[in-house]
C-alpha cells in the first residue's frame, strides 16, 4: 500500500513489517517488553508528516475520535 508521501512508501513498509510482527507476537500476548520499532517509526513519521504539510491535509489538531463524543453509545 502506498503512502500519501510518494517518497515515504519504503519507510512505511519497513515500519509496517516491524509493527505487524510486534503486534502479533508481543502486544497481543501481553508482552510489555519495549518497542523494537521506535527508530523506524521516527524515520517514517519525519517523511510522512512533511508530506501531509506539503499537501495541506488538515489533520493538525484534530481531536482523537472527536466526532464520536456526540454519538449515542460512545
Amino acid at each position: 500500500m502506498n503512502s500519501v508521501g510518494e517518497g515515504c512508501t519504503e519507510l512505511k513498509r519497513e515500519y509496517d513489517q516491524c509493527f505487524n510482527r510486534w503486534f502479533a507476537e508481543k502486544f497481543l500476548k501481553g508482552d510489555r517488553s519495549g518497542d523494537p520499532c521506535i527508530e523506524m517509526f521516527k524515520n517514517y513519521q519525519q517523511c510522512v508528516q512533511k508530506a501531509i504539510k506539503d499537501k495541506d491535509i488538515p489533520i493538525e489538531g484534530v481531536e482523537f475520535m472527536g466526532p464520536n463524543k456526540e454519538k449515542p453509545g460512545s
Binding site: 503486534f23 491535509i57 482523537f64 475520535m65
Partner: protein
C-alpha cells in the same frame, strides 16, 4: 437530517487474528478506491491499550448527476481519518473514522467494534454503525441517499477485504452476516428514484450554486 446505518457480522476467525488482519487489510481486491494508507500517530497508553490514527485517501466516486453539479469535487480525493483503540482486557478493537474534506457535500462517520464472539470464543463479532449527512441546500436528501448507498457498497467491500486479509494470513474462512438492520429510515425511496428527483432539482437550480464546496 442524518441517515443511520447498523449491521452486525460474525467473523469466523479469532479476535487475535481479526485484530492483526485489521492492520494488514490494504491493499486487497476490494479496496481499489483506497489510494494511500498511513499511520500518523500511535501510542501504547499507561493502561495498556494501543491507540492509533491512520490517514487514508480514497477516490471520490460521485454519480453522474452529482459530477455535473459539483465538478470541483472530482479534483481532490477524500481524506479519511481512522482512529482506533485496541483494548486487550476487554478484547475489543474500536475504530472511528470520518472524512475531513468534502464535508459540506457529505459527511460519513463510521464506528466499528470488533470483539470476541460471546457465543463462540473462536469467532469474532463485527458491529458497524454509520451516520451519513449532507449540508448542501436543496440536494441533501439525494446526496445522503447516494452516500448511504455508497457506504453500504463500501462496507461490503470492507468486510470482503478483511476476510481476504484473514484468509491470506491465516487461511480462515469467510464471515457470515448476522443481521442487517437500518434504523431511522425516513423514506423507502430507492437511490434511483432519488437521483431522478435530483436531476429535476438540478435543472431549476440557480447558476451560482456551482461554487466551490471544498
Amino acid at each position: 437530517m442524518v441517515k443511520y446505518f447498523f449491521s452486525q457480522t460474525d467473523i469466523k476467525s479469532s479476535w487475535e487474528h481479526v485484530f492483526s488482519a485489521f492492520w494488514q487489510r490494504y491493499p486487497n481486491p476490494f479496496s481499489k478506491h483506497v489510494l494511500t494508507e498511513d499511520v500518523v500517530f500511535r501510542e501504547v497508553t499507561p493502561d495498556n491499550t494501543l491507540i492509533s490514527r491512520r490517514l487514508l485517501t480514497k477516490t471520490n466516486h460521485l454519480p453522474r448527476w452529482a459530477e455535473k453539479i459539483f465538478p470541483s469535487n472530482l479534483a481532490r480525493s477524500v481524506f479519511v481519518i481512522e482512529d482506533s483503540v485496541v483494548d486487550l482486557k476487554n478484547k475489543t478493537l474500536t475504530t472511528f473514522s470520518w472524512n475531513i474534506n468534502h464535508t459540506r457535500l457529505l459527511v460519513v462517520e463510521e464506528r466499528c467494534v470488533y470483539s470476541m464472539s460471546q457465543e463462540k470464543q473462536a469467532w469474532s463479532l463485527a458491529k458497524r454503525e454509520a451516520w451519513i449527512s449532507s449540508g448542501v441546500f436543496g440536494f441533501s436528501r439525494a446526496i445522503q441517499e447516494f452516500g448511504l448507498a455508497r457506504f453500504k457498497s463500501n462496507q461490503i467491500k470492507a468486510t470482503r477485504g478483511l476476510e481476504y486479509a484473514l484468509s491470506t494470513l491465516h487461511g480462515d474462512g469467510p464471515s457470515r452476516p448476522l443481521k442487517d438492520k437500518e434504523a431511522m429510515e425516513k423514506t423507502k425511496e430507492t437511490a434511483l428514484a432519488t437521483s431522478e428527483k435530483a436531476k429535476n432539482l438540478a435543472s431549476v437550480a440557480s447558476p451560482h450554486k456551482s461554487n466551490q464546496f471544498v
